[in-house]
Structure formats: structure tokens, C-alpha cells
Symmetry: C2
Amino acid sequence: MHWSRWGDPAKAQPLDESARGMVEMFVGPLVDVPTVELEQVVLPPVGLTADQVAGLAAITEVATDAESRIRRTRGKSTPDLLKLRAGDAGDAPDAVVRPGSHDDVVAVLAYAVEQRIAVVPFGGGTSVVGGLAARRDGFAGVVALDLARMKRLIAVDPESQTATMEPGLLGPEAEALVGEHGFTIGHFPQSFEYASIGGFAVTRSSGQSSSGYGRFDSLVVGLRVATPIGDLTSGSAPANAAGPDLRELVMGSEGAFGVVTEVTVRVRPLPAEKVYETWRFPSFTQGAAAMRVLRQEGIAPTVLRLSDELETMVNLADPASIGAAGDGGCLMVAGFEGTAAAVELRRSLVTARLTELGGTDLGVDEAWATGRYNGPYLRDSLLDLGILVETLETATFWSNLTRLYDGVKSALAASLPNPIVLCHISHVYDTGCSLYFTVAARVAGDPIAQWRAAKAAASDAMIDAGATITHHHAIGTDHKPWLAREIGPVGVEILRAVKERVDPTGILNPGILIP
Amino acid sequence: MHWSRWGDPAKAQPLDESARGMVEMFVGPLVDVPTVELEQVVLPPVGLTADQVAGLAAITEVATDAESRIRRTRGKSTPDLLKLRAGDAGDAPDAVVRPGSHDDVVAVLAYAVEQRIAVVPFGGGTSVVGGLAARRDGFAGVVALDLARMKRLIAVDPESQTATMEPGLLGPEAEALVGEHGFTIGHFPQSFEYASIGGFAVTRSSGQSSSGYGRFDSLVVGLRVATPIGDLTSGSAPANAAGPDLRELVMGSEGAFGVVTEVTVRVRPLPAEKVYETWRFPSFTQGAAAMRVLRQEGIAPTVLRLSDELETMVNLADPASIGAAGDGGCLMVAGFEGTAAAVELRRSLVTARLTELGGTDLGVDEAWATGRYNGPYLRDSLLDLGILVETLETATFWSNLTRLYDGVKSALAASLPNPIVLCHISHVYDTGCSLYFTVAARVAGDPIAQWRAAKAAASDAMIDAGATITHHHAIGTDHKPWLAREIGPVGVEILRAVKERVDPTGILNPGILIP
């Protein structure tokens, strides 16, 4: 991962002339925005004492060099990128600690409690909600607890179709390991190539194939968590009535309650066949209604996505084809994965139903599947040209969809100069769906302040519409004010009570999640 | 509901001569066991002061007459029945309080906090785990908070397919109300006729059609909860990443964290067709493997049950046919509900797969569906004859099924005199399933002590096998020691932390759930 951009520099996607022309048409003239080199980044001195660094090093691997620290500074939100591009590493951890095992994690936590050192669990570093920028005040220092050495596939149970993994495995690494046993996890978020198994669990990640495989939280059957007061192990059965489901308390906790050291997930046989089709619907409303019907009738495909009119036109996910789709309407992707027989059966049911519901079958098209992880590269290319780009996501019930869509779009339009606002539905449920917005606007003044204002307006619109502040990006620091509104004061008190009990000195990711 | 037996006295199911003969063959000679009349029940005096009763009556309806109190004494476990049959109402509430609204509940809780009165939320009164026998010490008295007046269907959202209901609706009442809108909840546990919507939520109930419709906790999309520190409202989207899922903390909380006053659930269109088939498999192992395959391949029917060899032979659910099934093997019920087209398609897939997997199609058979709620009546008939009967249930992953099955059977065989132990699988998941045991043995000495010892042995066997102490009966007081072993000391601390925060005076169902 590039230290201040998304992903692999070799995969960067600079805009070609026609794409630049179209962007300029929307937002006005482009400018080249310089970024600093790694060596120019301003890094605070290591705040920990030499004794503390030695104390950590006596437990496991520790690094305090500049590059290690810069690479664990914040996550990958647009404000995070803007800060690093400008050379600001003010939130850098004092040290990077790399445990090799659950026992290492336990020992690090005990030492951190003793020394009052804040601990930020670090998986793939892809947070887009400020989940890695812990509060420093009141602590001797901050360490990034980098889980990158904890990459074992601990067990596969082929009969129960589960796999137990360490948290540091990145998406492709985990897929490769369970793939050797003939299985897939089926979790493919846009961050797939760089995000970790532990991160998927503690942020309630949801992948692009969630219609078929389910959200990551629905795949998790067991967790092992190291907390400052001891281990929590949950998942004694696929489902039970043994009180509140504590797995559901750890998921979404973003490291504030403990460090997940083992994750057991449902796996499925590797699909023999994968077919992705595109469909066109006359309008977003009609396409969304068709998705609802597929889901409520129990025949949704593995992948089910719908772009709104503008996203269909702009097709931002693939710079080579920006502006190429000229037939209007809204593009839907329907992907089918499974045995040949299952794919054939489901395709025939879906084809019949979507046709009845007003869709036009555009045939098999692998373009979406090929470009599915490329969106973030384009953001870097646009930031290079003075275009602020960020994403926002939420979810609601079907009957509230239009109100939410209109509300967020209006809020963004009112708070940014002539913005492009694109939207798609990428996760469907029986009772509702997600909405994922991509926003682009010309930088005017301080881009971070500019974005904060727009983000606040959009977040207010989500809560005002009775929707959630986040469908799959988690809370971090950025969403905290709206979490408090979403779950109310009693909900906040419950989170605080759990936090205070399992982390009485408050060393775990301080300032994250809990209002 | 009869005050000391299950259900409607008109539906009692005394054993006929052939059934008696068969039971005697298994467990030895039967004896007629007398039970007391309602008037003979020994009831403690009302512990609340006249001022306190008046204080409650100033808020809402209150009753302190003997019958009202006896009818809210404990639940419907076999020990509960044995105590009432012997005239022991020592756990009776001092008063029965009947709120008519959320605001009434809030006011009752505030008064109870002020006066230190313990509050036991009471829905259908069907707990089989001691969930209604609150601890009295430290309190001025105990009231049953009977939710039977809170029976409104608050809202139906036909587009999102959700319904919002008050907690006091019993299963058939709720089905009738959503049925007027063309929907079903699809939740049909054995207790369906007498258990309540609120109870389903706070105990994580699972119904006989859970393969198709899902467990009740998976149907719940929103909850409103009155706690002593304020209201908690959750369910802002079908799914979200806004921190831990607080719905999952309320579900399974058995009234210890608050009183659920509104429940929003997923509903589905009323099925146009219902077809129930029976199949025979050569062995329990082979039948279970077939269920696993159906589920993992995504083609499980709406109802999927499998009786082990002895349960197949005895067929306890239908006294008229006890001992009638003479062809050996294990009986499976496969039920299909939905549109005619969906039923036909699923049936054809299931028929082909079950045939391949060694099953014999016995054709359409409505006997199971007709008798599905009758099991508890037979328990009363057997208790009348000196036969101790009770049920136990658990769940585990597929690869652990045989170990769990053998472990529980061995524990029961070793701790009861010549017991009959029957078992079935009634809830299947991708990664595992439930096991539901029915145990019968001749009473020898004190039947309650006799059962407690057997229950403890079976519960130890469940935890020793790494399974859950309860798949769908909840914790109450009976399962608390094993809950502590299942979730460990950190899990217990989390429950205590939440309890202490939301219920600082501890008035809510004291002694229930939390070890």
C-alpha cells in the first residue's frame, strides 16, 4: 500500500484526456496539486520513553522508524489522504508493535495498562472513518498494534463449513488459504485487497457479494478477543438463546473493547461458475423496486447493484469508459456464483422476473467484476487535480428510500460548489437496502474544512431521515456525533458501561466509537 | 391457560390403554398422582404495603387477588408444574400490574425504583427455565408486570415488509393481525398458542418453521425498550455498521435490562400453499447429513425436522399413534410454504436431493402439522401417572453433533432410572443444528430433586461438548451456572456492567439471566 495513496502505485489510474474533459465540464478547470515526498513528512518525536520502547520490545517486535510510523498514521479517508499529502503526520503512533500471537497481544495489553499507553489495533489500515486516530491526552503515548504477523489459518471444519483465522490476514491471503481447502469466504468489499479479517469483523464490513454470501457480521460464528481484563471467547453454536449475543457486541467495536485475535467464519464451496450480467432500468426507482422484489421473493443473485442515472452516465469506477454509457436509464449488475446448476436455475428465475419488472437484459459483462476494486485509485487521480472526492454510505427500509436519497443529495448539493453526486445500491435486504454516494467537487479553500461541512450536512440528512449513519464503514471518530443521535443516550450509556468494565484504564483505541 | 397445567383444559390428552401399556413397558408400573385444586394452593401474604399497592394503582391496573397472583407464579417447566400441582405458590408475585402503554411501563418502573419493588415482565408465562421466579431479598416486594393489555398492531409497512407490535400479543393474535394485511410472521414455536411477541424477542425463541422463516431474533429489525434510565430505541436500518448491534443485547435479556414495549419484525406474504411431507432415513446420522446438505446447498424447505430412532418409534407428539410407526429408521418432516410455484420448485429440488442422499419419500402427511402444538399436553398426562417428563435443548456445529448427542444421552441414562430419551433436530443452520431431547422416567423420591440432578448432568454434558446450554429456551434461573461456563468470566462481567448501568437499583427481574 502506498503511504499516502490507495493501494499499489503500479495500478494508479490517471485520467485520460476525455475523462479530464468531462470532469472539467462538470466542476470547472483542473489544477495540478503537488504532494510531499515521504521524506518531507513532519513527524512528531517518539513520545514513549526508551524504557517503554524496550519494555514493549521485550514482549514482541517493535519499530519506531519514521516510515513504519508514517505508514500506520490514520486510515484512508479523503481527509486522511489530504493530511498526509500535505506532510502532516501529527497523529502518527509513537511506535509500531507487531505481536506474533494471541499471547503476545495479551502481554502487550498488560504492559500498556501498566504504563498507560494507548493501543490502536491496526489491520489493513483502510479505515475511512478516523478509526485509527486515537486520542493521545492522558496517555504516555500511542502504539499501533499491527496484526500483520498474525496470519495463520488456524482450522478448517469442512463438515460444518467454517474456518478459523488470525486477524492479520488480508482479504486475498485469507481467500487463498481457505481456497486451498476448496472454500471461499465470499467477502469482497472494495477494500478487499488491503483490508484484514480482524478489521472486517470489528467494523461490520459488507462486501460486494453480500446479497449472496451475506455481510461479514452474518458470516462470523465465533470470536476470540483479548481484553485488558481477560479473554472473551464466543460462538458456542451457530445460534443460541444463551442471553445477549456477545459476538454482536464485539462486532462493530473497532478495537475499543478488545483485540480480536481469532475469527471463525462460515465458508462455502468455491463457486464452479461466476456469471455477471448487466441490465438497464428506466429509472432508479424502478430498478430499486425490482431489487426489492428479487430479495423479498428469495431469488436475489449473489451480486446485486444498481447505479442511479448520473452514476450510470459517469461510470466513475472505470476511467476508461467514463461518459461512454449513453443510453440513459440505470445500470444494474446481477452476478451469479455457485454450481453450474444453481447458477443456471437462479439466472432463469432472475431473468424472468427482471424482465417482468421492466428491465432490459444487456447480457453478460465482466467489466464491473474486473474493475471492482479500482474506485479508490481514481480518487487519488482526482485529488491530484484539485477535485475533492469522497464516499458516504447509509441504509434504510425500502419505504424510506426516496426520502433518504433525496435528503442526502440535497444536503450535498447545498454544501459543496457544484458537486457531482453519484449513488448506487450495493447491498439489499428483505426489508431495505444501502445507499452509497460518491461525491466530487472542486476544492475551494481548505479542502478538509470543505469536506467536513459537507459530510456534516449529509450525516444530518441521514439521521433526520431516520436512517443509519453508516451501513458498512463503521463509526471511528468521524461518525461519533451521529452515532449518539442514532442510538440515543441509553445506547451511549450501554457502550460506555461495557468499555469501562473491559478496559478500565481506557487504553484501547481511546476516542474511537464511543461518544 | 390452565393455572397448573399446559394450555386449554379442553385439549387435554389423557393416555389411552395402548399408550399406557407401552409407557409401562418402558418405565414400569404407573400410579395416579393427585394434584391440588386452585383453592388449596398455599399463597404467601401480599408483601407490599397498602400504600404501595395504591401507588401502583394510581398508575395503572393492579390486582392482588389469589387467582391473579397464582396464575403469574413461575412458568411452565416441569419443576414449575410439580410445585403448583403440590400447592406451592411460594414464588407468587405480591401483585399483578397491567400497564396499557409504553408510558404506563415507564411510570411503573419509576415507581418501582423509588420503592425498591422488583418487577418481573410477564408475557405469556411460558418460560421453561425459571425466567419468572425473581429473587425477593433486598426488595419491598415483587410485582408481575403483565403485558396482556398491550396488544396493538402499531404499524404495518407493506413495502418494507415489516410490522410493529406491542409485546403482549400472543402468537395467534399477532398472526391474525398481520394476516389481515396479507402477511405472516412465520414464527411457530411449540408454545405459539400461549407465548407472546415480547417473550419471543427477549428469549431468542425459535419456531418450528425456522429453516424457512428464521429464528425470531433474525426476524426482529427494531425494538423499543423502557429501562429505568430511559428509553432505548434501536433498528435504524435492516443492517448497519454503527457500532455494536444493541438489538442483539436486548434479545436474550429476559427483562433484566428493560421492558420491551414495541417489536418490529420482518413479515412475509401469507403462503398460498403449505405442503408437509414425511421421509424415512436409515439412521439419525444419515438423516442429519441430508439436512446439512440441503441447508448448505441453499435448498432447505420451510420446515425441516428429524426424529432419532427412538423418537420415531415412540412418536410422543401424537398419543393416538404412539408405537404405531413400525418400519424403523428415522422420520423426517419436510414442509414447504410459499407461492405455488415456489413450493413446486423447492419440493422438486428437495425430493431429488433427499432421494440421492438415501431418503425414502413417504408422501404428504399432515399429522405432524396437526399435532405440532400438542406435546406439552402429553407431559401433563404423564405427570398425572407418576412419570417425570421434561425437555432439554442445545445446538452445535455439524462436526460436533454425534459427540453432543451421545454425551447428553449418556448423562441422562446415568442420572435417571431407566429413562426414555428421545431426540430430534428441528432447527438447521449452514454450520450446525439444534438437538431437542424429551426425557421420561418414573418418579423415584422427590421428583424435583430427581430432575435437577438429571438436568445438571445433561447440562454439564452440553458444556463439556463445547455446545450451548440453550438453543431457544433462554437462561432464566435454571441455566445460569452453565451460562457462566459458556461465556466465561469476561462475558459475565459485560452482562453485569450493562445491568448495573441501565438498572442501577436492580429492580428488573432480579436473579434472572446474569450469573
